[in-house]
């Protein structure tokens, strides 16, 4: 079996995304003697030097078609490259980019796929991969034995470590396999702003699905006001239209680093945690003692937020007078 691991480098707007360095670290730790970073871009010149220390080789696949992300040319080039190099595994980020590409790539390669990997070790044949289920309440261990195996790696899960491999940069030409796409990238847009910037707040109250109904929102609003906090939310609250997208905390929302974050009725799915784990102090109120939020919170309260918050407001009022 080949001992080389291929890592697909992800970049956006001219910058390599952190997850690429996380995957390169994970690949090195798999004991692979040969870590090949695959960089597909309009031109590799700007990005390749940043990656070279982290890999044994940087395979540069360049051309105008790789300027913007579009899974189709990426996939076709990777299929051709994998057929030539026969890597043991291809690591791809479990990101919006990777999720568009990973499953169809695995089918095209006739490979086994494990998505959202949080741990990965080499097994006698193939890999042993752990991943979350039920929004983090369970972990599942999978064996994947195909060659190559496609492993989609959770973002912000592996710690990126510095390296000095001084990888060689090799240009590789995808040829005409990348033509004739049925999909076309048109543009990148930013979510419109309404003027609330949760990233600048020092105290943030986050409200989750535990709030249950729109009519309970004033409770959260008034509590936030009491303590001079900005009110933010997990995704379901925003999806329901109770707060604007701009105050969503998490991987598809904003990343906040306040002095104090109070999470009310939020389970702590990793997509939420990705946006708030940098808070200095985290207080979580959740009626489920096993809610994953308690593994990142500094203080935990297992109870009904609809009882705790009114009682808390009373205590605060008493303290103020």
């Amino acid at each position: 079996m080949s001992n080389s691991i291929m890592v697909l480098v992800e970049h956006r707007q001219g910058a390599i995304r952190d997850v690429s360095f996380e995957m390169l670290t994970a690949a090195r730790k798999l004991g692979a003697g040969n870590v090949e970073a695959v960089l597909m871009a309009e031109s590799c010149d700007l990005l390749a030097p940043a990656i070279a220390p982290h890999a044994n080789k940087v395979v540069c696949v360049s051309g105008p078609i790789f300027r913007d992300f579009n899974y189709e040319p990426y996939q076709k080039a990777l299929v051709k490259l994998a057929a030539e190099r026969k890597p043991a595994a291809i690591l791809i980020a479990n990101s919006a980019f990777g999720t568009d590409l990973g499953p169809s790539l695995a089918v095209a390669l006739n490979a086994g796929l494990v998505s959202d990997a949080v741990a990965c070790t080499k097994a006698d044949s193939g890999f042993s991969v752990s991943r979350g289920m039920y929004a983090g309440k369970l972990v599942a261990d999978w064996a994947v034995r195909s060659e190559p195996s496609v492993i989609m790696v959770r973002q912000s899960n592996f710690k990126a470590e510095p390296a000095s491999l001084g990888g060689t940069v090799e240009k590789w030409d995808a040829g005409d396999v990348v033509s004739g796409a049925k999909t076309k990238f048109l543009s990148l847009e930013e979510v419109p702003t309404t003027g609330i910037d949760i990233t600048k707040a020092t105290i943030v109250v986050g409200i989750g699905r535990g709030i249950k109904e729109a009519k309970n929102m004033p409770l959260a609003q008034e509590f936030a006001q009491d303590i001079g906090a900005v009110l933010a939310a997990s995704r379901p609250v925003v999806d329901a239209g109770w707060l604007p997208k701009e105050v969503q905390i998490g991987s598809s929302g904003k990343t906040i680093k306040p002095k104090l974050y109070i999470a009310l009725g939020i389970s702590g799915a990793f997509q939420h945690i990705a946006g708030m784990k940098g808070a200095d102090t985290i207080i979580a109120v959740n009626k489920d003692p096993k809610a994953p939020i308690f593994s990142v919170a500094h203080y935990g309260i297992v109870d009904d937020l609809h009882k705790v918050v009114p009682a808390l407001r009373t205590k605060i009022k008493e303290m103020k007078t």
């Binding site: 796409a181 990238f185 979510v191 303590i227 925003v238 598809s252 104090l260 203080y299 109870d303 009373t314």
Partner: protein, 256 residues
């Protein structure tokens, strides 16, 4: 667009575990399901809504399909009650252990020989969190796809989509139809079924199909409850005592 736009929606019935105690069963590979409530997968609900909106706009037919046991007909009936045209269940009995790509293979088998302009699925299943089925199905059918779509607009021959990226970015893309699109939550407001709709849905036939073979290249070894790392300091007591402790904490941190 001409009258006969055909849309298929893939639906999954899942346990609602957000507030439930999730326990591993004797096999060590699955959870104890008997005390859980089941529902339509959250993202699928948005996918269904997207199809129903397209139905209204383009006078489309909306066909639902689910891989599952008899009980998954509940979610098909729910979809029919909301206005879908037809429904099919591919029986999961005898399927054995499989993975996301395996389910995509089963679905691809059912889609073989049928023509749809658009196939929609949820972007992710709330139970396994795989995010695999839609794009894998597209590849098996030789169709283009887009994952994590929050906005979808179909015209003759093309679909324009907005895909949600990290950090508040959206990617605008154009796909040739037929295509497969996986829908992320939040892009629409899923409707409720009317009483009339529910009544009518009860009488509609549901096509029964047997699964195509779905060999998988991965194997589930075991599932388990993760160890809580860096656990929070828990505040104990009555509601009042807890409230007092948090109030003191807030004061310490300068919030009061």
């Amino acid at each position: 667009m001409e009258a006969s736009v055909e849309i298929a929606v893939c639906l999954k019935r899942v346990p609602d575990t957000a507030e439930a105690d999730v326990k591993v069963d004797a096999s060590g590979k699955d959870i104890v399901r008997d005390k859980l409530a089941f529902t339509i997968n959250e993202a699928d609900n948005y996918a269904l809504e997207e199809a129903l909106l397209a139905k209204e706009k383009h006078n489309a037919n909306v066909t639902l399909v689910s891989v599952g046991a008899k009980e998954s007909e509940e979610v098909l009936r729910m979809g029919l009650a909301k206005g879908a045209t037809a429904a099919a269940r591919i029986d999961s009995a005898g399927l054995g252990e499989t993975d996301g790509i395996g389910i995509a293979r089963v679905l691809a088998g059912w889609f073989q020989g049928k023509t749809f302009d658009l196939i929609v699925t949820g972007a992710i299943a709330s139970d396994d969190g795989n995010s695999q089925v839609g794009p894998a199905l597209a590849e098996l059918l030789g169709l283009p796809h887009a994952a994590y779509v929050t906005k979808l607009d179909i015209q003759a021959g093309t679909a324009t989509v907005k895909r949600e990226l990290e950090g508040g970015f959206l990617e605008v893309k154009e796909l040739a139809t037929p295509c497969v699109v996986t829908i992320q939550t939040g892009g629409n407001a899923p409707r409720y079924a009317s009483i009339m709709g529910i009544k009518r849905a009860g009488a509609k036939p549901i096509e029964q199909a047997a699964p195509a073979k779905a060999e998988s290249k991965t194997q589930l070894i075991k599932v388990y409850v993760p160890e809580i790392v860096g656990a929070a300091q828990m505040v104990e007591g009555t509601v009042d005592e807890k409230a007092l402790k948090i109030a003191q904490l807030l004061k310490e941190k300068g919030a009061v």
